[in-house]
């Protein structure tokens, strides 16, 4: 039997906020839309910033990459704060479970010696790469134009520090609860030749003042770093008897798949803009011209270090991954410079 609950029926005056009704018609809007679209102030600012009086506090000119309507971009994941923290809470919990399992069976310490060395000398230093990525992405949180892009940058920035903390926890477990390996990993980040390309790249990005080109450059590096460290090595670890590595890598892989969704959508939106697509294409080409070679070389150095430890053909894998990424960018109509590496 169905229970008939009687409630007072009240016809609403309107179904959503005016700005959304103007964009989409008077239909009920999602919480993503209400909490994200048109939130940032756009006009009648009062004062020029003391730290940079040539622009307003929110200004499309903080990047060469622009959108005629900043809200032509929306997050394909439709993330606002609440679902974001819920999603990350689950992801972090899953990671903790994996790590607890690895710790309870001492599985990290039972990996082949070479794989342990790889983790200590190559993987753990990348926690600093993640921390640098957080800083670079945070530039977008402050300086991008429009709340849909901002929210994506915000969540990505927080994700990167989360990734850095996950890698750090791996280091703590592998050192049996101490920070010994983390200290060594930091030295490696600062000094090991294989990591200097990535460190230099991030430091140079910290001196750029264009959040968009910073984001895109970082993304180029991410595609190659993640392709090598968490995709290619995931497979290689399983073949090499280092299942523990694979168990760690899968979590970063899952995160990166999520990250790709919004960045790919943003790049597509830039390139599809009805008025400034050409300028955006030129800006993206300029990034590629300036940085692609540097990124490929940095990751090639990283791959060489991987091979020095475990000899799994990482250099070749990095090269073919770079070619695949370049092909994807070319398919978008971008010009990827030839690199000799």
């Amino acid at each position: 039997m169905q229970i008939e609950l009687r409630t007072q029926v009240i016809e609403p005056r309107r179904r959503t906020f005016t700005n959304l009704a103007e964009r989409f018609g008077d239909r009920p809007a999602s919480r993503y839309e209400e909490g994200t679209i048109d939130v940032q102030a756009t006009e009648n600012f009062h004062y020029r910033p003391l730290w940079g009086p040539t622009r307003w506090q929110y200004d499309p000119e903080y990047s060469a990459l622009r959108l005629t309507d900043p809200y032509s971009f929306t997050d394909p994941r439709q993330l606002y704060y609440a679902p974001y923290v819920q999603s990350r809470s689950s992801m972090q919990e899953a990671f903790s479970k994996s790590l607890d399992y690895l710790e309870s069976r001492s599985l990290l310490g039972r990996m082949p010696e070479a794989w342990q060395q790889l983790v200590a000398n190559v993987l753990l230093p990348l926690r600093h790469y993640e921390a640098g990525a957080q800083l670079i992405t945070t530039e977008g949180v402050r300086f991008c134009y429009g709340t849909t892009i901002d929210a994506c940058c915000t969540f990505a920035a927080f994700d990167r520090i989360g990734n850095a903390q996950q890698l750090s926890r791996v280091g703590i477990v592998l050192s049996g609860g101490s920070a010994e390996l983390l200290g060594a990993a930091k030295q490696a980040w600062l000094e090991a030749p294989a990591l200097q390309g990535l460190r230099r790249l991030e430091e140079e990005l910290l001196t750029e003042r264009d959040w968009g080109t910073e984001l895109v450059t970082l993304d180029l590096a991410d595609r190659l770093v993640y392709g090598l460290m968490y995709q290619f090595l995931d497979e290689a670890a399983l073949l090499g008897g280092a299942g523990a590595y694979s168990l760690i890598a899968q979590h970063l892989n899952t995160w990166f798949a999520d990250q790709r969704r919004w960045i790919d959508a943003l790049i597509a939106t830039w390139l599809a803009d009805p008025e400034v697509a050409d300028a955006n294409r030129a800006a993206l080409d300029a990034v590629l011209a300036a940085r692609w070679g540097q990124v490929v070389e940095a990751v090639s150095d990283l791959a060489a270090a991987v091979d020095a430890h475990v000899g799994v053909g990482a250099v070749d894998a990095a090269r073919s991954n770079a070619a695949a990424v370049a092909a994807g960018l070319t398919a978008l109509g971008l010009t990827v410079p030839e690199v000799s590496a």
Binding site: A41, V85, E203
Partner: protein, 509 residues
């Protein structure tokens, strides 16, 4: 580097572990000059010798943060959903209550959002990893607050006037230039001033005066979504308060030369924030059908007792004194809410909320809360306004008021010691005259005239033809207002709808 054999190692303490997961991620750039990566932390004159001396006011890692916050939001959104499903708005104390929430959504949500953006500026550009990570967490929290406020009030928007175009209004409407210019001022300042302006003054010194009235008002008046939002934000706010307090102590401890700079910022941001709170004072004493406490009581408890009595004696150790012009704020506690409300009352035809003459019970309450000032100075105004109402009219001021160049509130505040004479101050800068509402605002102007002459003053802008046209309807249309948004509450669309719903409910019940 060799991996240690699985021998028992020195385990990290909780503090060391936190440090390993946060501070220790930092490194000092060597491929580029540090000053080029972090260029904004020197121009304000603040000297930081050792960023590692920053004491983390709380220890949160990303996994713990997401877990707590996800749990809180699950509960909050469950309440919002059930409130909407059950037409919870019918259980409010009165339809007029929502005028307070219109002011809240129009005035505050955008500022939560600005705080979000500018805490990210600190999370990127402070040199020290400790304060950077704390600022990053706060940046996320502020996005949460902006979004949860919008979501909490979204249901009311479907049934009431005034909520529907809050962002455009925030960018354009005269009374919203008060909070907007306040936050624009803060985010265009340097990182250290922002920490004092928002992190300390707003989030610590004045936060109870701002949030407690709105949230307690919600609780007293049956506004479950806002009340739940308020409770849910409380644990974030307590983190923000400890961050603000740590920030000021850190700056003061780093170098004695920082003390006079911080003092001036405190002086400025106390008065700036206090003037902004005039809107809150009016809301507390005049907008709530069920009142929580008077502005005067609130000011005495949350500011005089807790801050002047509790905080400033501690800060005196660093050479910090209570803010300049605080004695004027204390004196004004008897008159502030009435003067601010009288401004809102007479310009309600150009607002996206409604006001009305306080009814007999409300006037009685005002008399008991303000026995020295309300009966003598303000009740007569409302008696006159009531006479106009009784004659079928409504008193609106059809002129455009002069605005204070700094706080941007119409110049309706009075001289110290003389509550019947309007206070006017002015300064000449580069041959132009600028008017201010008070000694506090004049002092702020004179300290940074180059900044305040830039102010986008709504009335000036109307006269310059930048606001949709020369007539009031032109301007209101440009503001994004609809005909039902403003005016008197009695007889308004909201009032009529409220009455009709309850008549139906009574018949059916």
């Amino acid at each position: 580097m060799t991996v240690p054999a699985q021998k028992p190692a020195r385990k990290l303490s909780m503090k060391q572990r936190y440090s390993a997961l946060t501070h220790d991620l930092n490194w000092t750039p060597t491929y580029v000059p540090e000053a080029e990566a972090f260029p904004y932390t020197t121009f304000e004159g603040i000297k930081i010798h050792d960023w590692s001396k920053w004491e983390d006011p709380f220890r949160l890692t990303v996994d713990a943060y997401c877990k707590y916050q996800a749990e809180k939001d699950r509960r909050l959104y469950a309440v919002l959903d059930s409130f909407a499903q059950s037409q919870g708005q019918l259980g409010l104390s009165d339809g007029s209550y929502l005028n307070a929430m219109k002011l809240f959504l129009q005035g505050i949500a955008s500022e939560e959002y600005q705080a979000h953006r500018n805490f990210a500026y600190l999370a990127r550009y402070l040199n020290g990893p400790g304060p950077r990570f704390a600022a990053l967490c706060q940046s996320l929290d502020e996005l949460r607050h902006a979004q949860t406020e919008i979501h909490a009030l979204s249901h009311y928007n479907k049934h009431f006037t005034g909520f529907h175009d809050w962002k455009k209004m925030h960018d354009r409407v005269w009374y919203l230039s008060v909070p907007k210019s306040f936050f624009d001022d803060a985010v265009t300042a340097g990182p250290f001033e922002f920490l004092i302006a928002i992190g300390f003054s707003f989030e610590y010194l004045l936060t109870n005066l701002l949030f407690v009235p709105f949230m307690s008002g919600a609780a007293f008046n049956g506004d479950l979504p806002t009340m739940t939002f308020g409770f849910s934000a409380q644990s974030d706010e307590s983190r923000h308060m400890t961050l603000g307090l740590e920030a000021i102590k850190f700056m003061l401890e780093q170098d004695e030369d920082n003390v006079p700079i911080v003092q001036e910022w405190l002086d400025k941001w106390f008065w700036r924030g206090y003037r902004l709170l005039a809107l809150v004072a009016a809301m507390m004493d005049y907008f709530l059908p069920k009142r929580v406490m008077s502005w005067k009581e609130s000011f005495e408890l949350y500011f005089e007792q807790q801050m002047l009595g509790g905080l400033f004696p501690d800060l005196a150790y660093y050479g910090i004194r209570p803010p300049r012009h605080v004695e004027q704020a204390i004196e004004e506690k008897e008159i502030l809410s009435h003067q601010a409300f009288w401004i809102l009352y007479q310009f309600s035809h150009a607002a996206a909320f409604q006001t009305t003459v306080p009814d007999a019970a409300a006037q009685e309450w005002l008399t008991s809360a303000y026995p020295e000032t309300f009966p003598k100075l303000y009740q007569p105004l409302f008696e006159k306004a009531q006479e106009v109402m009784d004659g079928g009219g409504r008193f609106f001021n059809m002129g455009l008021p002069q605005l204070c160049q700094v706080c941007q509130i119409p110049m309706g505040f009075t001289e110290p010691g003389d509550p019947t004479t309007i206070c006017q101050r002015h300064s000449i800068f580069k041959g132009e005259r600028y008017d201010m509402c008070s000694d506090g605002c004049k002092w702020i102007f004179d300290r940074e005239p180059e900044k305040y002459v830039q102010a986008w003053l709504p009335v000036h802008q109307i006269y310059q033809g930048n606001c949709g046209g020369p007539t009031i309807p032109d301007v209101l249309a440009w503001y994004g207002m609809q005909p039902d948004d403003g005016g008197d509450y009695l007889g308004s669309a909201d009032h009529q709808a409220w009455t009709a719903w309850h008549a139906t409910a009574a018949k059916e019940g």
